[in-house]
């Protein structure tokens, strides 16, 4: 059906972004394909060292899933900040990822977890690393006739700490800036850190300079604060009516420091 609809077709997942966009005439679709009644697209299961989350698993189910809470607590924590309870009852992980909103909370989480996205289409099934999936603002590597079916994230075991820090201007506003952090601690210090940024560019970004600076650093406010100074390096926050790029760069530095300290357990 998607192949027949071509560029004019849209997949309806949870509908919490697409339906308002259609209402506001920000999106148009000749054909809307509702995939809500495909049970194979829902659920969470384990495959060796990976956790597999069906694309149509709702935010509500992700938050309450025991496997997610055990093996990908960062995903559960960030998902708890998405929208509100009613939106989380309908909205889905796959829908959020395929929507690829720069202010979306979940794309940087999947990026930081080194996740993979599985797409299916008329030419079969293929796996796309998160780093290649987010192409531009509201644009992914999915072809018009492909459907996102799974999100796979490697399980991160003992020694890892996580945190998602988000700043918004009001209770209902999307993230102005968000920071997703995974930290591996060793001998009281930070052995390895991964830092993902929400809304600091057209796509989710990794704060690579911060990650390098944190490798082998002490988990102290001073050391982490120094590393976090580079959080806005290489970013290009999109133009926004209410805030300046300088303000968002400042937020990225402050939130990175907070998120890394929280993930390292030294708040």
């Amino acid at each position: 059906m998607l192949a027949e609809g071509g560029e004019e077709a849209k997949v309806l997942a949870g509908g919490q972004s697409l339906l308002p966009m259609l209402r506001l005439r920000l999106a148009r679709a000749e054909l809307v394909v509702d995939v809500n009644r495909v049970p194979q697209l829902r659920g969470v299961w384990e495959e060796a060292d990976s956790l597999v989350i069906g694309a149509m698993t709702t935010h509500h189910d992700v938050i309450h899933d025991e496997l997610v809470r055990r093996h990908a607590p960062l995903l559960a924590a960030a998902t708890e900040t998405v929208g509100d309870p009613a939106v989380r009852h309908r909205g889905t992980l796959g829908g959020s990822l395929a929507h690829a909103d720069p202010a979306g909370d979940l794309p940087p989480v999947v990026l930081v977890l080194n996740g993979e996205l599985v797409a299916e289409g008329p030419r079969g099934r293929r796996t796309i690393p998160a780093a290649e999936f987010f192409v531009d603002c509201l644009t992914t590597a999915l072809k018009p006739d492909e459907l996102l079916v799974e999100c796979r994230v490697p399980k991160l075991g003992e020694g890892w700490g996580f945190h998602y820090e988000k700043f918004r201007l009001s209770a209902q506003a999307p993230a102005l800036v968000g920071v997703a952090v995974a930290v591996r601690r060793e001998n009281g210090g930070i052995a390895e850190a991964r830092v993902g940024l929400t809304n600091m560019g057209a796509t989710p970004l990794r704060a690579a300079t911060v990650e390098v600076a944190l490798a082998g650093a002490d988990a102290t406010a001073e050391a982490v604060g120094r590393a976090a100074e580079a959080a806005a390096e290489g970013t290009s926050a999109m133009y926004d009516l209410s805030t300046s790029p300088e303000y968002r760069a400042h937020l990225a530095r402050v939130l990175t420091r907070r998120a890394v300290l929280a993930a390292a357990g030294s708040e």
């Binding site: 919490q16 809307v32 509500h60 509100d84 309870p85 009613a86 309908r90 209902q172």
Partner: protein
């Protein structure tokens, strides 16, 4: 046109609807259930919150065809005859409404909260109602009303348990 069958507040309706019809428009314009209000109709304000298959949803962001085969509860399905639901009564008694436009959605969202958290703290109530806007900004009394209803429901459960115990 698509054929749907949907149970709303205990009555099953069979209808032909356009695929693009929103659930909230179906409830109000087709079924005449205007207790559910439309505020923003873009998933922000929560005025149109109803239950779909046991979970709160914003009915402006669900298509009527998606409710096919489902069970919907609106604000109009809460009272038992003339007996108001404890949340309806406490919103009245605690003066938790001014213009009243957001109230149906507030009550449906609060009901969703109390189903899985019967004894919420005030900050948990505020989190649960994050997606519901009151432009009269009467949030203090709304939180008070949810606390009062939670206490009443809790007392009701306690009474039921003790009377069962007495019978046993």
């Amino acid at each position: 046109m698509n054929r749907i069958s949907v149970n709303v507040d205990g009555t099953t309706y069979e209808d032909e609807v356009e695929p693009r019809l929103l659930l909230v428009q179906y409830l109000r314009d087709r079924l005449g259930l205007t207790g559910t209000t439309i505020g923003c109709d873009t998933a922000n304000c929560g005025a149109c919150t109803v239950d779909l298959d046991g979970l709160s949803v914003k009915s402006c962001s669900v298509l009527a065809v998606q409710a096919d085969g489902g069970e919907v509860t609106t604000i109009e399905g809460l009272a038992q005859g003339t007996e108001l639901h404890p949340l309806q009564r406490s919103f009245h008694e605690q003066h938790a409404l001014q213009c009243g436009y957001c109230t149906p959605g507030m009550i449906m969202a609060a009901r969703d909260l109390l189903r899985h958290n019967p004894d919420p703290r005030p900050e948990e109530i505020r989190h649960a109602l994050r997606g519901n806007l009151c432009r009269c900004t009467g949030y203090q009394n709304i939180v008070q009303a949810v606390l009062a209803a939670a206490a009443e429901l809790e007392a009701g459960r306690g009474a039921a348990t003790s009377s069962e115990a007495a019978l046993a």
